[in-house]
Amino acid sequence: MERTEAIALKNITKTFGSIVANKNVSLHVFHHEILSILGENGSGKTTLMNMISGIYHPDEGEIFIDGQPASIQSPRDAYRYKIGMIHQHFKLIDVFSATENIVLGMEEGIYDLKAAEKKIRATCKKYGFEIDPTKKIYQMSVSEKQTVEIVKALYRGADILILDEPTAVLTPQEIRKLFDVMRRMRDDGKAIIIITHKLNEVLEISDRVSVLRKGEYIGTINTAEANAGILTEMMVGKKVSLNIERSEPKDLQKRLTLTNVTVLAPDGRAILRNVNFTANAGEILGIAGISGSGQKELLEAIAGLQHLKSGSILYSNPETGREENLRNKTPMQIRNLGVRLSFVPEDRLGMGLVGSMGIADNMMLRSYRKGGFFLLRRKEPRDLAKRIIEELQIVTPGPQTPVRRLSGGNVQKVLVGREISSSPTVLMAAYPVRGLDINSSYLIYNLLMKQKENGVAVIFVGEDLDVLTELCDRILVISGGVVTGIVDGRDVTKEELGLLMTKAHHREEEAQ
């Protein structure tokens, strides 16, 4: 098959303030191929793609499309060059229908939604998409929204498709479907770029892999010649051990005991039903489950953010030896009982940190009650912020930079760093490595491990079964708000976990 160059980047550089997002990056993409762009978080993959799609302009360097120098000043220019980008955060308007979203911003003849709908259906048929063009976006699943995005790009005649972490939000079945569609588009002559940090997906779908590290272009290899080891090395620069070193739990002590905990949703449906378990000091208790099975509510119930319909949450205080019932107490009351509870919520910038405040000010969210009668004491949080930045290698212009300007991994480090610094007895972390690259993930795993060795009861909600089975001492599986099993993390297989994760669903279906 003849290979023609679709797009070439030459010596692209882009900076944001003092942070260099891309430095001297050169890339080539051909028609009839799928190129993976691999890199850690903050390695500049998305920034680079945003320059191709006209969201940002490169400070230096040139972009060639079909061999001709191109000046992409806006997303509209990008469409003119037949470039379509599917962003990680979908650029769709919730109250519009799929069709309205797809034709948005297009200037083609008279405005006729019916005709557009017909054309969309034809495109869907050609590549095997399944969407209803009249459906409103807010009624759609994540996978459907992604399909709308892809159809939108194709509808505008895109020849070069860029997908930014398309699989992060999909189920395995949906990923398989997406990959089928991608292959069909490739065979149709499109040039496809996929950004990801999942190695297995790179190896499965792409023809070639280009690797970025800290904004710099490292190299490109044919996927056929690559394996996970080579790619990881290119990505992180040094060999990273893929094994988590799990220490044996010692000196186990009962810390938290949940008995018959039931939590209702606002609509009266039970989100948690009769949950019983014990979390011990000195071990990591993993919580596995399909997302939305009640993990969030479980942690929030312990943290005092959910009202319990019934049941009790007993905390065994290691200092006094007394047992305290945390049921229906506010976070403040819980803390006043001397319970040192740390919580790394799933929604980092929503619940965990204040995005517009700097790292130092965010540290104060835990310590603002210290200090004098009226004035805040700012020195300690500032020192703490500096210490965390140093210890966790947070990339930031300074402790006063608003945390929302930091990349996802760095935001997470700030949050975890703060929670650990208050020397908790119970540490709850919900998806602490979501969106993080391998290096940052391991940093977090090691931090959790250290906490466990220090005698903290660690509760870890995860989604990656490999990580759960390697990191956790025991794994609690929750499904539809019901605990379907508590297993030993050392013996259990992924298949067994998978079965437990879907168990209660079947029961529910039978009941209906």
Partner: protein, 332 residues
């Protein structure tokens, strides 16, 4: 008590609100929450008054007024005045990214101040004992109605007895509704108000849409001020007479769920609710306090609508998703 008269008053009371709300809906659809609308309407009114005042005073014989000029001059002055207000708002919020609420409230204070300042100056100029300026010649031209109004009795009074600005308000509202729902620029505008980043990525100029919508919206709202002075108030300007009609127009936007076509009926309803105490007073005599309480009805109704729509949570009935938020393209 005469139903036809009540409807007529409700409509004339409602038209300024209709202008205000149509203008504000178009503005809000671009994501700009222009709380300066009361000020914009005020400036629209005083600009028209200034134009009319100088035109009338330039005439040697006031009875030989040229109707075309008498309408055109205040109209253009009004549009210009409110356009400037719209430009100020757009420049501050879109170009300089100032906080929309603060800018809007400042613009209201500013508009009312400017109106009262120039209103006061005009009153000084006429050297009259009363604290108002009367532009009866201009008002006469603005208030001209269709000749058929008197021929059909009550039907005529209810449907045909209004001036051209009233019909224009209804026409503009219908055109605005069609524009927003059925045209490509309308789709683009709604996209900007819902999710500017998405609109931007689709190649729609966010700044251009925000500027255009805010300026056009302000000009439409300004006409409401003009209608109020020239028609409703019979060409008599007195400071602060416009009252809280600007805020009512904003309440009407919420009441009609951001739909200019609903606004036509909503404005008449609001107009009626605003006046109903006069008519009730005929049957049940009541003191001023009670009357003022009844005058609150439009606001109470708006709060009820807010409660009901918030409870039903239907996405289509919610305000534009990015209403009041600034848009930065390079914000990460």
């Amino acid at each position: 008590m005469n139903i036809a008269m009540f409807v007529h008053s409700a409509v004339t009371q409602g038209i300024p609100l209709l202008y205000g709300s149509t203008g504000e809906i178009i503005t809000e659809k671009s994501g700009n929450l222009n709380l300066g609308i009361p000020g914009v309407m005020y400036v629209g009114a005083i600009s028209g008054v200034i134009g009319a005042f100088f035109y009338e005073n330039s005439l040697a014989d006031k009875s030989r007024i040229n109707s075309a000029l008498a309408i055109l001059i205040p109209l253009l002055c009004c549009l210009l005045g409110s356009l400037i207000m719209g430009l100020i708002y757009s420049f501050l919020t879109t170009t300089l990214r100032a906080n929309q609420n603060v800018t809007g409230l400042a613009l209201t204070t500013f508009g009312v101040g400017i109106g009262n300042f120039f209103g006061g100056s005009l009153i000084k100029l006429v050297k009259a004992d009363i604290t108002s300026v009367a532009l009866s010649g201009t008002s006469y031209c603005f208030k001209r109605t269709l000749p058929i109004a008197t021929k059909f009795g009550k039907v005529g009074e209810i449907f045909f007895s209004y001036s051209f600005l009233a019909y224009a308000a209804i026409l503009i509202a219908i055109v605005a509704a069609i524009f927003l729902r059925k045209t490509r620029p309308g789709l683009n505008l709604r996209a900007v108000g819902e999710n500017p980043a998405t609109a931007d990525a689709a190649g729609i100029s966010v700044a251009k849409n925000k500027y255009l919508a805010t300026c056009v919206g302000s000009m439409i709202a300004g006409l409401g001020g003009l209608y109020y002075v020239m028609d409703y108030a019979d060409g008599v300007w007195s400071n602060d007479a416009f009252g809280d009609r600007g805020w009512l127009a904003i309440a009407l936007v919420i009441f009609t769920l951001w739909r200019p076509d609903f606004s036509i009926f909503g404005s008449i309803l609001f107009g009626g609710l605003y006046l109903v105490h006069f008519y009730l007073n005929e049957f049940i005599p009541m003191d001023l306090g009670t009357q003022s309480l009844i005058q609150m009805a439009p606001y109470v109704v708006t709060i009820l609508v807010l409660i009901v729509t918030s409870m039903r949570k239907k996405r289509e009935n919610q305000p534009p998703a990015s209403l009041g938020l600034p848009y930065f393209r390079e914000d990460r």
